[in-house]
């Protein structure tokens, strides 16, 4: 449904934020894009939605949604598509809801603008969706302003609003990061239900490997603007190949698994800022397996039928290391 190949985004010729990222999202599939801050995951989402700030340069080999070439779509046709067949939700619902309008008027605006639906019908639809996302007393909520809602409720309103026009694709950028863990679990369950019941394709952007493990069908790990590893979820966690993926997984404390009080695995250094024209592996300065050839061209290696990683190490290096 969504097909992105070789996506590049540069800001003013100084920073290459996304450097040839590729990913696909099928109908009814949750694809997680995971990485640390500054790795380019949000920029990728914004580039797909054509919501990048002015001054950003977007380019791709393929960028298509449901057969339409998004690269050639005019701004007005793109804005008709956005909010209609592809919708996006953001991390902080307070900043993406308008504080001066009621929940009801913001929700119905989507439908009235895209479909020209009469107000009364749009209100019914809004109430129905608030019920669907698990909000009790939807009629009352429609008359409330965003500041009258808790964080979890606001995020549900955002999700309901994104669903107003029955989108086929939902791009969710850190939708639960600002929420408490208990509310996060509720929102993620809701997204899983929607995916199952409505056949929604979800591109979920997160930095949290716990979220990835529990909701994703497929994972792409981003580092410094590149997808460095991509695999079905179970395979990625069972047999990660890229040294960055392996490092990330060792950093996360897991109750009952990591020994209490013992040092966690960590990755030295920080995510670098990559200038345009950078060559070689961007992770090499932090990588314990770095070798001189990492400064040259880095191959994308298959490690399974749907599993590939971007590294100079051979596909079976983890097995060899384990044997040694």
């Amino acid at each position: 449904m969504l097909d992105v190949r070789g996506l590049r985004v540069e800001f003013g010729g100084r920073t290459a934020a996304v450097r040839g990222a590729s990913l696909r999202v099928s109908k009814g599939e949750t694809h997680c894009l995971v990485g640390e801050s500054g790795c380019g995951k949000s920029v990728t989402a914004l580039a797909v939605m054509n919501l990048l700030a002015r001054g950003a340069k977007r380019d791709a080999e393929v960028l298509s949604f449901a057969g339409q070439d998004l690269l050639r779509l005019s701004d007005s046709r793109m804005s008709r598509l956005r909010g209609d067949r592809m919708a996006m939700i953001f991390q902080e619902p307070m900043t993406s809801l308008n504080p001066a309008y009621t929940v009801g008027s913001q929700m119905t605006e989507v439908l009235r603008r895209h479909r020209g639906t009469p107000r009364a019908q749009a209100v019914d639809r809004a109430a129905e969706l608030l019920g669907l996302v698990g909000i009790t007393a939807p009629g009352m909520r429609l008359g409330q302003y965003p500041h009258q809602l808790s964080g979890g409720l606001r995020q549900r309103v955002m999700i309901a609003m994104a669903l107003m026009c029955d989108p086929e694709l939902l791009v969710a950028d850190e939708p639960t990061t600002a929420l408490d863990v208990t509310v996060q679990a509720q929102i993620l369950r809701l997204l899983a239900t929607l995916r199952r019941d409505l056949g929604l394709g979800i591109l979920l952007i997160t930095h949290d490997l716990g979220v990835v493990a529990r909701v994703a069908d497929r994972v792409s790990v981003m580092y410094a603007g590149e997808v460095v590893e991509s695999a079905p979820t179970a395979e990625l966690f069972a047999a990660p190949r890229h040294p960055y993926t392996r490092g990330l997984l060792r950093c996360v404390p897991v109750p009952g698994k990591t020994r209490r009080g013992e040092p966690l695995g960590s990755i030295p250094g920080v995510v670098p800022r990559i200038p345009p024209g950078f060559r070689g592996c961007a992770f090499r300065d932090r990588c314990e397996h770095a070798a001189p050839n990492c400064a040259g061209a880095v191959p994308r290696r298959p490690a399974g039928p749907e599993h590939e990683f971007l590294c100079t190490l051979p596909a079976d290096w983890t097995l060899r290391e384990a044997a040694a």
Partner: protein
């Protein structure tokens, strides 16, 4: 052990008055309600809870940044209220969540770290420079980084600066309020490892506040679970994670998403009712969200009952609770508090 605990809170309570509209009557928000605990020297008390549960207010009370409405804080056996600011600073220091907001952007790193020493007023400048240099090296910052401004450092490096500043007076106690929440996981691991190392080497005591249970499990020796201003369960850490006593603790533990694929997202079963500190429910304050609530819960505040590793405030733990409802395995007797 006769040594005084490093931190002791006795019946701490803090009430805020908030006005919700220009002409509205001010309402009372009880942010911290009758909280008592003690932390033995050299150990780590983890405090967990959702936003609004009062954990940051508790941190500010322990640091003496906020006077309690009632109750006492004792640090190293001395009443905090009776210590002057300098003495307090030598005993207890904070590390806050946001290293962007807590460092003065217009000062160099080495001056930021020297500030607590300068504020003491009796440290010669030569000694000051050498202690700053020693501290910077100790937290893994180079001499060159000491010359920079906070804006020139990454989030993890800034948090190292905040730790160096907290430790330069060689305090006995550090209050860490969400010290890694603003950091990426790879950097979070670096900072957690550094805090653990410093604690061992310098014999520090931590009050470690976090919403991330996995992190708390990793660092804490004892855990306090806060809900709407009260500690509803306190337990030795290992026992808490193995056999949580309070339904709220169980829900919190269930909502930790460990990186284990195939398990799906758990149904936490807490419902929609959100806790509101300005409107604390009668009886057990958790009852509107509790999946196991029964007729007694809205009527009567539960007492503290013993659990495997401490206590929890829940009617279900009472030995006479309706059959089949009582939590299993806990030795149940009411605690003398």
């Amino acid at each position: 052990m006769t040594a005084a605990p490093a931190i002791e809170a006795r019946g701490l309570r803090r009430v805020f008055r908030v006005r919700q509209g220009l002409f509205a009557e001010p309402r009372q928000v009880v942010a911290v309600d009758d909280v008592s605990f003690s932390v033995p020297a050299g150990s780590v008390l983890g405090v967990v809870g959702e936003s609004g549960c009062g954990k940051s207010t508790l941190a500010r009370l322990i640091l003496g940044l906020l006077p309690p409405s009632a109750g006492d804080v004792l640090v190293d056996g001395k009443r905090l209220a009776e210590l002057d600011r300098r003495a307090r600073a030598r005993l207890i220091q904070p590390v806050f969540q946001d290293p962007f907001a807590s460092l003065n952007p217009r000062r160099r790193v080495k001056d930021i770290v020297a500030m607590p020493l300068a504020a003491q007023g009796d440290v010669p400048s030569a000694a000051m420079a050498s202690r700053v240099a020693e501290m910077l090296a100790r937290v893994g910052l180079s001499e060159e980084q000491g010359e920079r401004y906070p804006a020139q450092l990454s989030g993890g490096q800034r948090q190292r600066v905040a730790i160096a500043r907290a430790l330069v007076l060689r305090p006995r106690i550090v209050v860490c309020d969400e010290p890694t929440s603003a950091l990426d996981v790879s950097v979070q691991a670096q900072i957690l490892n550094l805090l653990a190392e410093l604690r061992r080497e310098l014999g520090l005591t931590y009050l470690f506040i976090s919403h991330n249970l996995a992190v708390v499990e990793h660092v804490a020796s004892e855990v306090a679970v806060m809900y709407l201003g009260r500690i509803v369960e306190r337990s030795e850490a290992e026992a808490l994670f193995r056999a949580p006593g309070h339904p709220y603790t169980r829900a919190l533990l269930a909502s930790v998403l460990t990186p284990e694929p195939g398990l799906g997202v758990p149904d936490v079963g807490l419902g929609d009712a959100m806790p509101d500190p300005a409107n604390i429910p009668p009886g057990c304050r958790f009852h509107p969200r509790c999946p196991q609530a029964f007729d007694r819960c809205p009527r009567e505040a539960p007492a503290a009952w013993a659990t495997a590793g401490g206590f929890a405030e829940c009617h279900l733990l009472e030995p006479t609770a309706p059959a089949g409802l009582a939590g299993a395995g806990a030795s149940q007797r009411q605690l003398a508090r």
